[in-house]
């Protein structure tokens, strides 16, 4: 049952208890089968748990879609050194609001996922890195974690298994880039949240210099269910390349925005028109950003045949990212919105890499000038070249993340830019 609207077509695995405050407690969560996943994992052992997650085909829900089981299997064995699991709860990708929902309605779902992940990779300590703005959400999770400690579900000898797993809440302080995995590690260590160069990869040298795995909240929550039911069970949903269910965060100009859970491969238009009750005020669809602001923007046409799975969105010319579907109607001012995104990336660039530090800021200033009616057609070429120079040239992909909406918007909505450049006419209201 997604939130704050529900739809009968949903497949509710992660979202079963959204909107149900009684599921926040250990007792409430256990009523829904809670903590059976970690119990089974402890029974079948580390390697079998990793095999289960591999078999499930679960792909990381933080944006990159990397197979989770494979990532876990990269962790070295018997190093005698501490291993860490980091849970990425920095949720800051514009358009994305699923992790917060998971945490505030089902904190034990995340705690259980963290236990499964920690156990599988041999970590005795898991840090949950929460974005600083999540005060209320974090309070709920804190209470739940205290309960879990009190019940012996977390800490020394969990559930009488002889395994020790600690979980600590770590609170950030406002920086999108700390969602990037190595930026998060630096931030956790008390540094500026600047991403690190890879190699070395986190599985070799991660948090505090130790082997580390980092996963998104939704990823870990899903592993709790996979640990309980097995890998094949999860594959009953979704496509071959995108197994399982996923939370879709729908925002923008639809009648019923919010989180909905569907098997991957769900048709985009059905999501917008049926599940979300169609476009607000009966307006026409203009564009969709399907995966959070860091992916190419799609025209209404691109959306027609698009299915919401990793390969489906890619075939439609964009990326599934974290499945944050931003729906824009015919009144949307694309140039303004691209400028607003550019400003966001300028504001959030950590500033290490020259193409990102200078490129984001320069692109924002050019876009602002175009928006003010002072642009030229050459500016569009310059923007595209800047974007190309920002792609594949930096430490992390924040830089590429701005390049994509700029290039795709100029390709697909060139008329909007030209209207401003040639006639000083804004297309759309906001």
């Amino acid at each position: 049952m997604a939130y704050p609207y529900r739809h009968e077509k949903e497949t509710r695995i992660l979202s079963e208890c959204f909107g149900d405050p009684s599921a926040r407690t250990v007792a409430g969560w256990k009523k829904h089968g809670g903590y059976q996943g970690i119990a089974r994992a402890l029974e079948i052992g580390r390697d079998a748990t990793i095999e289960d997650v591999k078999a499930s085909g679960l792909r990381g829900r933080g944006g990159a879609g990397f197979p989770t089981g494979l990532k876990w299997s990269f962790m070295p064995k018997n190093t005698g050194r501490p291993h860490y699991l980091l849970c990425n709860a920095d949720e800051s990708e514009p358009g994305t609001f699923k992790d917060r929902e998971i945490i505030r309605w089902t904190p034990h779902q995340l705690i259980e996922g963290c236990l499964v992940g920690s156990y599988a990779i041999g970590a005795a300590h898991c840090y949950i890195y929460l974005r600083g703005e999540f005060f209320e959400t974090t309070q709920i999770l804190a209470r739940a974690l205290e309960e879990a400690y009190a019940e012996g579900l977390v800490g020394r000898d969990i559930m009488g298994s002889g395994v020790d797993i600690d979980i600590t809440l770590h609170v950030g302080a406002g920086a999108y880039i700390c969602g990037e995995e190595t930026g998060l590690m630096n931030s956790l260590e008390g540094r500026r949240g600047e991403p690190r160069i890879k190699p070395p990869f986190p599985a070799a040298v991660g948090a505090f210099g130790m082997p580390t795995t980092i996963n998104n909240v939704e990823t870990l929550a899903a592993t709790a269910h996979i640990a309980r039911h097995g890998g094949e069970w999860y594959r009953q949903w979704g496509t071959d390349k995108s197994p399982g269910t996923k939370l879709f965060c729908v925002s923008g100009h639809v009648n019923r925005p919010g989180n909905y859970e569907f098997p991957l491969g769900f048709p985009m238009m059905e999501l917008i028109e049926d599940v979300c009750g169609g476009m607000r005020d009966g307006k026409a669809l203009k564009a969709v950003i399907p995966g959070g602001s860091s992916v190419p923007i799609m025209s209404a046409e691109d959306c027609r045949a698009c299915t919401l799975c990793y390969e489906g969105v890619e075939a439609a010319g964009s990326m599934l990212g974290c499945a944050s579907v931003i729906v824009m109607d015919e009144n949307t001012d694309i140039v303004k919105q691209v400028r607003r995104m550019a400003y966001f990336y300028t504001h959030e660039s950590c500033g290490q890499c020259t193409p990102c530090r200078e490129g984001t800021a320069w692109a924002t200033r050019i876009l602002r000038r175009i928006e003010d009616g002072l642009g030229t057609e050459d500016d569009l070429d310059t923007l595209i070249q800047i974007s190309e120079q920002m792609t594949g040239t930096t430490i992390c992909v924040l830089s590429d993340s701005l390049a994509m909406p700029i290039i795709s918007s100029i390709e697909k909505f060139r008329e909007d830019y030209l209207a401003l450049i040639r006639r000083g006419e804004r297309v759309g209201a906001a």
């Binding site: 660039s349 500033g351 290490q352 530090r357 320069w362 000038r369 594949g392 040239t393 930096t394």
Partner: protein
């Protein structure tokens, strides 16, 4: 296996069509360097960690999906690398363009102009016309205290300065403040770098004109400076340096890389103390005669007269005062002359001693030593005894009252009064400045400083290091080894030294510690003395 022939600790790869074999763990940037290809780089510095953030060193590696930062990508067997492919050039040009978006382009008033890596790279491969139409970001100028001035608008954010302070000076006073395009380098608000003892290095390693020396500010253009390999004369570490000179004046000292001595670095104390080399009022011509009888002379007459006096004094008791600022060649020639002229009672020298030493924590072989002179160790090995107090005064009572032959070389006798040497049968004063205490000298002979001659010092590590001539001496001032060596040769009838190399060769003959060394072999990097004797 079948690979017997290949050494496991090297890799062979192709860079720009040339095959090159390098040790495992060599970066592509260094591998290219061995072929004489300089890949542009800002954030990478061989003495610091490599954050790979400036992105100007990107090269194409066949098979890799993206361009790779050559500073941190390690060479691998069979790799095919292109530093000049169209893609690599285009991306570097792109990165350069980003640097210029906000750069003030104030080269005409920038001290770095002429040695600036932004200027160089843009000149080599930048776009002809910048496309930036937007107003530039302005940060302005910030006085970091000490000798360092920061021009934020010129900064390329390579963080070399921050990493030097953190990793090498281990003095966390510099940081990046803010993030993204608002980021600047700063200290803790107004607290600055005052009192830091190695901060001058950040000016050296700043690849652009963002960090400049206040002392050097607008003093000279880089292209007008001559560079001479030398050794810092300000303590017994003997950091390898370059003298930067113009108009026969030292304009600044810059560290010269020597991994055995100072790495890429030098201390602020040493760097700041060069004005004494430019001090006017030098002794320029020989003078003969005591007190009121002092008369100007020339070398021919003065040396002839002095030779006669020395010959007369044969067998006399001789005392000499040397200096830890004198070269080995000077000190040994002094000693040889004294031994020739009579019975050497004592050879002494004085040197200031600081209260403590000051190591560079991240490069601990480099220590600003307690001995604040370059050749304290050389003087000791060559048989001179240190006398006097830590402030470089006192200890000359016996010399002052000596009634035999007294020769003073390089000690200005600043703490001595006019009665010094009054009882001496023969008093010879060789130095760079006249002194009230030289009033009784029978001969006053003008010397060159180490910057005006060639020679060697022995540093605190027991390492002989050569310095070269960067300045012309004033008037007819001569190197001490030449003057003393000529006199000794005249007394023995031997060959007089005509070069510092000759003088050095005679040290090698006379002192086991120098055994086996040859002048050329000392080279630019110096050479360790025989440990057993040093």
């Amino acid at each position: 296996m079948a690979d017997n022939g290949r050494k496991a600790d090297t890799v062979t790869l192709t860079i720009d069509g040339h095959e090159v074999t390098v040790p495992k763990g060599t970066s592509l940037l260094h591998a290219a360097e061995t072929l004489g290809v300089e890949v542009p780089h800002y954030c990478y510095h061989p003495g610091l960690s490599a954050p790979a953030q400036c992105r100007i060193c990107l090269v194409e590696v066949e098979g890799a999906p993206k361009l790779q930062p050559s500073c941190v990508t390690m060479a691998q067997d069979g790799q095919v690398v292109h530093t000049e492919s169209a893609q690599a050039r285009r991306m570097r040009q792109g990165v350069l363009e980003f640097y210029l978006v906000n750069h003030p382009l104030d080269c005409p008033i920038c001290d770095m102009s002429g040695e600036c890596k932004l200027q160089d790279y843009v000149f080599n491969e930048g776009r002809e016309h910048g496309r930036g139409r937007e107003p530039k970001r302005v940060f302005g100028r910030d006085d970091f205290g000490g000798d360092v001035l920061y021009y934020g608008d010129r900064c390329v954010m390579c963080t070399r300065c921050v990493r030097f302070m953190d990793e090498v000076a281990r003095d966390g006073r510099l940081t990046v403040v803010e993030r993204g395009d608002r980021a600047v380098i700063d200290t803790f608000f107004e607290s600055g770098l005052d009192g830091a003892s190695f901060a001058g290095n950040i000016v050296d390693i700043c690849p652009v004109g963002a960090l400049v020396s206040k002392d050097f500010l607008h003093k000279a253009r880089a292209w007008d400076l001559d560079h001479t390999e030398s050794v810092c004369p300000n303590c017994s570490q003997g950091c390898n340096i370059d003298l930067h000179t113009r108009d026969n004046l030292v304009q600044r000292l810059k560290p010269r890389e020597n991994p055995e001595v100072n790495g890429h670095w030098m201390c602020d104390y040493g760097r700041a103390n060069y004005e004494w080399l430019n001090r006017p009022g030098r002794l320029e011509a020989p003078a003969v005669g005591r007190g009121d009888k002092r008369r100007a002379s020339d070398w021919q007459h003065a040396l002839h007269a002095l030779f006669e006096r020395l010959a007369e004094a044969e067998g006399a008791s001789v005392r000499v005062v040397g200096s830890a600022f004198s070269s080995n060649e000077a000190l040994d020639a002094l000693r040889a002359l004294a031994e020739q002229a009579g019975t050497l009672q004592a050879g002494v020298f004085r040197a200031r001693r600081a209260e403590d030493e000051d190591p560079l924590p991240g490069f601990p072989i480099l220590v600003r030593r307690r001995d604040l002179a370059p050749n304290v160790d050389g003087a000791g090995i060559l048989g001179f005894t240190r006398v006097g107090d830590d402030d470089g005064t006192g200890g000359l009572e016996e010399a002052a009252d000596h009634d035999g032959v007294l020769i003073v070389v390089g000690d200005e006798l600043a703490d001595q009064d006019e009665s010094f040497g009054a009882k001496a049968g023969l008093f010879v004063y060789l130095g760079t400045f006249d002194s009230p205490a030289a009033r009784n000298a029978d001969f006053v002979l003008p010397l060159t400083t180490f910057a005006e001659e060639e020679g060697t010092f022995v540093n605190a590590q027991g390492r002989v290091q050569r310095f070269r001539q960067g300045l012309r001496g004033p008037g007819t001032a001569q190197p001490a080894w030449l003057v003393l060596g000529t006199l000794a040769a005249a007394l023995t009838g031997g060959d007089r030294p005509v070069s510092a190399a000759d003088a050095f060769a005679s040290i090698v003959q006379r002192h086991a510690a120098f055994g086996g060394l040859i002048w050329e072999g000392v080279g630019s990097a110096g050479a360790a003395l025989e440990a057993a004797h040093a």
